[in-house]
């Protein structure tokens, strides 16, 4: 089957996809779809959690399996440095397990990468990592909230820079996808359109990670601008990306 699936058809296949029950060409199309659709990614994650619960078989793996694993890893010499692919801006590579919940994941990936990078600097970052995980988990939970509103912030060229979710109580999360690192004297700043006003929702820094924010629950759309470090009270810049919450 080579025809392109519609979004509705791909939504219908999310359950089968989560169970590895689709054909290869469908899988490829769905993985492309998931990269652009946070709600679909969250649904697949939920389906896989249910599947994992169905797998509760208990028991133990046979003796000897761990010994073989230990033998294998004990002969490996760790590389001196291993950078994590935080946000591949133009990568078209499709892995078997794509970056579902990609941007939420990017935070965790970034944390893991950072962990290794800092290994030689004797920084105990386990606690930091766990804290970042908690933020990522909070964002993921918000995305699975059926009452939350979501949007992907796109550039004029159609590139999805980030996902934003706002829950009914005004708790929001920004989850970067492809936000190029800015110069150190610049920062991304997030804005919400509430009624006729454009309100700053926060300064994100020049290399944003998953961020939490609070806003008026009636915020209609979200914009990102590129500002001087520290941010501004009123922006004069053209948004680098924007999206309508739905």
């Amino acid at each position: 089957m080579d025809r392109r699936l519609t979004a509705t058809e791909m939504d219908e296949l999310l359950g089968a996809y989560a169970l590895d029950a689709v054909d290869a060409d469908e899988r490829e199309q769905i993985e492309d779809y998931l990269e652009e659709n946070p709600r679909a990614r969250a649904e697949v994650a939920e389906h896989r959690e249910v599947a994992a619960m169905m797998s509760l078989a208990g028991g133990r793996a046979p003796d000897g399996v761990w010994d073989r694993i230990a033998d294998t890893i004990s002969t490996e010499v760790p590389p001196a440095l291993r950078l994590a692919p935080v946000v591949p801006i133009e990568s078209k590579r499709r892995s078997r397990w794509p970056a579902v919940l990609g941007s939420v994941a990017a935070a965790a990936i970034g944390v893991l990468g950072l962990t290794v990078v800092r290994q030689g600097q004797e920084i105990n970052d386990l606690n930091e990592a766990v804290a970042a995980d908690a933020l990522a988990v909070g964002a993921a939970e918000a995305m699975t909230d059926p009452n939350a509103r979501l949007t992907a912030l796109h550039t004029d060229d159609g590139v999805a820079m980030a996902d934003v979710v706002v829950q009914p109580n005004g708790q929001g999360y920004l989850v970067p996808r492809t936000m190029p690192t800015l110069a150190s004297d610049r920062t991304y700043q997030m804005w919400g359109v509430i009624g006729d006003e454009v309100i700053s929702l926060g300064v994100l820094g020049n290399e944003p990670t998953v961020s939490a924010f609070s806003t008026d629950p009636n915020v209609r759309s979200v914009l990102i601008t590129d500002e001087v470090a520290g941010g501004v009270a009123v922006t004069q810049e053209v948004p680098v990306s924007q999206g309508e919450l739905a």
């Binding site: 359950g15 133990r60 939420v104 995980d133």
Partner: protein, 196 residues
Amino acid sequence: MTAEPLRDASDATLVVAIARYRQDALAEAYRRHAGAVYGLARRLLASESIAEEVTQEVFLRLWNHPDRFEPGRGSLRSYLLAQTHGRSVDVLRSEGARRRREEREARATAEGGYDLEHEVWDLATAERVREAVSSLPDGERRAIELAYFGGHTYREVASMLREPEGTVKSRIRSGLKRMRTHLVDIGTGGPSWTDA
């Protein structure tokens, strides 16, 4: 780096430690999850030796690519089991394995009729999960069982059940959603694996 006690660490902390090449962290992850990984692989592949290989592969993959685990996406166990399922299905769908499976299923049919339900659940121990599955309409339950534990595509499931493909894919999706709702309603929003 000074070793930190990992017995009580969260899965996310374990994975961070694995990224720092701490073998004891991988050993702890193995202690918690290898039984489920192996059990699922064995169930799908009906071969202890191949299930052992898949188990080994899944944990080595975690060791080599800890960054692919995304805490925001779900638990470490669901990640490992998704890996296990995907790899097992790949093996299962290879031609040789497919022949073996068809022979096995034909033999089972000849000997005692098609009793996948019994086969599926003789390994399941969670009463609540069992209850959630049993609460599903028959069509949804059988579609999910055949897809997940049988390793079949939804098209194959449709053929086996003599149902339209669209019906089967809808049933898989709606069944999974129904199970999740049921599990949440009865207080099993998700398992806690730290003490597993």
